[in-house]
């Protein structure tokens, strides 16, 4: 065969392929989502089957990347639907005028779960599934390392769990952002951060993606992970040796779906939202690979035995999640977490190890050493931003505005740099003090 003819054939095949793609261009529905392929594939298939000729395009973005994507798409070419867990991300979008009102929700869905409204009262977005946050662990790992099963967030600050837990970063994962915000709201700013810092100090890793945590627990890299419920439930359903538990400081919060303003295929988008909220659409959530909690109470009747039911009282959610508050400090919480925890994790973990060691050695004796240890704890586990500062409106506004010119970039990076260096200094000093205290025990 001559090469020129080979080349011609190749070019022909390529052209055919390109034409094939273009001709398949029917009615397209474009969905931006943070959900895994397992979930989206089921909905895509079911919706396309019901609506012949319709093509569902799934665009996978992390929650914050998705928000940025919707914001930056040109006004006349926006995607149609935003579908993700974090209600605060929807608040951000609604504030920026990027969501369209729609009044086609399913009336059978209750107005509230606990005291939290399932649907946005203004109609910008709808709760599509419910999610609680909790602890997931690998049973083989716990057995091999002889660790007790954790029941509460507070358990994770115990020395036995040092180096065995993992959490993702709220700047990368909307669900982790909710978990952190739940703890902050449940325990209060100062106490919440202190607990968060102690848990993070016990973590083996702060993972990049939210799925990094369940993945690590599934394959046994980490013993325990702080995850959204369906990560744990679906892994268990897929056969992994894992368990999932809701601690009492948890909030049940809807995962939402909303129509994007100026969507290209708005009608189709509305149809899709209605489908996901319908009886049939809700039942898809029970697929073992998905394992999410439906918002439609009737659907639980068809769930397998032992399936958690937030309407039936099997989950005790102590925290009434305030999404207004969460939205106000959304970027701030992420930035603090990243600069004091994610990027300084090595120092934080070292400090917390030294503190655990010292406290074990001292065993409550030697008051002078105890004072040092107390100082070390305070240094390591006090947030870099105090509770009074978060009430400052101007300070919050600095982080809320996404438009950044050179001066503002410098102001924010200056602050971040300051937190980063303060955190590092504190952790290193805490480690020193704890080591001193431990030396006094001998």
């Amino acid at each position: 065969m001559r090469l020129s003819s080979l080349a011609r054939r190749l070019a022909g095949a390529a052209l055919l392929g390109a034409l094939g793609c273009a001709s398949a261009f029917g009615q397209a529905l474009s969905i931006v989502t943070s959900f895994p392929k397992d979930l989206t594939a089921v909905y895509k298939q079911a919706f396309e089957k019901r609506n012949p000729g319709v093509r569902v395009e799934i665009q996978n973005k992390g929650t914050s990347a998705g928000v940025a994507y919707v914001r930056e798409a040109p006004a006349n070419n926006k995607p149609d639907i935003f579908w993700a867990s974090a209600p605060d991300a929807f608040e951000v979008l609604a504030k920026d005028g990027l969501l369209a009102r729609y009044d086609g929700g399913n009336p059978a869905v209750p107005a509230k779960i606990g005291s939290y409204p399932i649907n946005d009262p203004r109609g910008y977005y709808y709760g599509q599934a419910l999610a609680g946050y909790g602890l997931m662990w690998n049973t083989r790992y716990l057995k091999a390392h002889k660790l007790p099963e954790p029941r509460e967030w507070a358990d994770l600050v115990k020395p036995v769990y040092h180096g065995h837990a993992s959490i993702s970063s709220p700047s990368r994962s909307g669900t982790t952002h909710l978990t952190v915000e739940t703890i902050l709201q449940g325990e209060g700013w100062e106490k919440g951060w202190s607990q968060m810092l102690q848990i993070a100090g016990n973590c083996a890793a702060i993972t990049e993606r939210s799925f990094g945590v369940p993945e690590g627990v599934n394959n046994g890299q980490y013993g325990i992970g702080l995850v959204i419920d369906f990560f744990g439930l679906s892994a268990k359903a897929s056969g992994f040796p894992v368990e999932f538990h809701y601690p009492s400081v948890t909030a049940i919060v809807p995962a939402n779906i909303g129509l994007i303003a100026n969507a290209k295929s708005a009608e189709l988008g509305k149809k899709f939202i209605a489908f996901t909220l319908s009886d049939e659409g809700q039942q898809l959530l029970l697929d073992p690979k998905i394992s999410r909690l439906p918002v439609l109470p009737a659907t639980y009747a068809r769930a397998p035995a032992g399936y958690p039911n937030p309407y039936g009282g099997t989950i005790k959610a102590k925290v009434n999640f305030d999404s207004e508050l969460s939205e106000q400090r959304y970027f701030l919480v992420s930035a603090i977490f990243d600069h004091a925890i994610t990027f300084r994790h090595k120092e934080l973990a070292a400090a917390s190890k030294a503190i655990h060691d010292a406290s074990a050695k001292l065993a409550g004796r030697n008051p002078k050493a105890q004072a040092l240890l107390k100082e070390a704890r305070e240094l390591a586990f006090t947030p870099v931003v105090g509770a009074d500062k978060v009430k400052d409106k101007a300070f919050l506004a600095l982080f809320r505005d996404t438009k950044r010119d050179a001066a503002k970039t410098r102001q924010i990076t200056g602050l971040e740099q300051y937190w980063n260096s303060v955190a590092r200094k504190n952790y290193e000093r805490a480690q020193e003090l704890a080591t001193q205290a431990a030396a006094m025990a001998r």
């Binding site: 080349a7 190749l10 395009e57 990049e208 394959n219 890299q221 040796p241 050179a406």
Partner: protein, 568 residues
Amino acid sequence: MATGPGQAGYTRAQLAAALLIAAFLAAFLIVPVGMVVYVAFAEAGGGFTLSHFESFFQISLMQESFWNSLYVAGMSVAFATLIAVPLAYFTVRFRLRGALIIQTLGVLPLIMPPFVGAVAMQLIFGRSGSVNLILQDAFGAGLPVMDGLNGVIFVEALHYFPFVLMNLVVALSNLDSAMEESAQNLGASGFRLFRRIVFPLAMPGYVAGASLVFVKVFDDLGTPLVLNVTNMLAPQAYLRITSIGIDDPIGYVISVLMIAFSLFALWASALALRGRDYATLQRGGSSLARRRLEPRQAAAAYAWIVCVLLLVLSPHIGILLLSFAKVWSFSVLPDAFTVQHYLTVLEDSPRMIWNTVLYCGLAAFFDVVFGTAIAYLILRTRLPLRHTLDFLASAALAIPGVVLAIGYLRTFRGLEMPFTGELLTSSWILLVIAYAVRRLPYALRSCMAALQQLHVSLEEAAENLGATRQRAIGRIVVPLMAGGILAGFVTSFMTAAVELSATIMLTASQSAAPMSYGIYLYMQSAAGRGAGAALGVLAVLIVALGTYLSHRFLRGRAADLDRQTQDE
């Protein structure tokens, strides 16, 4: 119509071809990269500022990322050298059975996306991976090879050492064996002989390979992401741009720094070779030059090679096991095996496989067309500024995938395609273009080499016999260059199929996703891990099959040519 080289030294058609290529490179390389550089130095209202760089260096995280990237790239080169040098030296300079197999196996890592390797390596060498579970059992302590930066270095070194290996094998086999023999006559032997004579003479090959490893590691995004390492430059650029937004200036500053370092590495490698004469008189390592090893030495060499190969192939073994595993959690080997994952992938995602073949095939096709054209323009015409084309096309080598993608997203923001009204930035066409631009240097080198070996008298003969210039190119030049063109095609295809840096930023939707992105997507859910691994195995098979078929085709052609000449 002028038939020979005209007074100007080029024809109108050649000029048009040159302009077309220049326009393509301008639109999809120069402008986007220029845009990135511009934004990094531009003030909000326009005008030059260094303020963004100042901000960048104020953030200690960025300083740290900067040093980490340098450290990881440097250490990866060091480890890649440790793996590659003995493999190359033993197989080329000594008589060892299975040398060819060893060299072939040594290239295998390249045909798997490095981040897929990272997933497999977690299961084998991770905190609770097979190796550490066994070590924990036996000694109560494990090896933290996969923790943090170590993990990235380990995975990258295993993935990219073939670049050093391939270049060294070529350099070593072209070495004048008289040099080695003289050294031996003068009393040098063993390590001294290697250190003082062989390695310095093979330096050009080594430096070429090592600088390539450095550039590749600096650019890699998928591996650090999968290993949860974020304090490096490529992940920071990706995180800034995707989560803060395309307007975040720090992302552009990182991009500029990444370009600077790539250029620096390539420049340093050029500098290291300048002003030294590495030419040798005798070409080709004749079999006489291959030394024999004593039995004990041979055993040691084999043992070392087997260990290295096991290590090198561990990502493949791991991913293969994972693709057949029912559940693999906190155990040395999977609990049970199944073929379900392959069925899932074939039922679920045949589109992704087709996408990879389509995108990478198209990109590689453009590459060899442009490569052949540029090679012809440079070697056979006297077009003014023709070397600029070569320079521009090769410059793509220094542009990291993340940077090119950021440039595209920014430059073509909001641009709609004719007819469909789809955004160019969310179209797969941009992905094909990114692949084509980034792989053009490889294809160009192959085409240049092929045309250099072709004597101009063959074309002159054809033209003397009445063929037009176009016909001479179509019937004589291109067919005789076929080997080089095909090699260029395969290299472009292979490397494009396993790349994730630009892919992850430019892939818009699931249905337009190539396999590399598909694997990444699958790996994001509990039930998808096995399916992702199965897709990874299929990707390796497709690339391997393509390489094998092209080798067959080349050999077939060589036989055809032989027969034709004999017949005549």
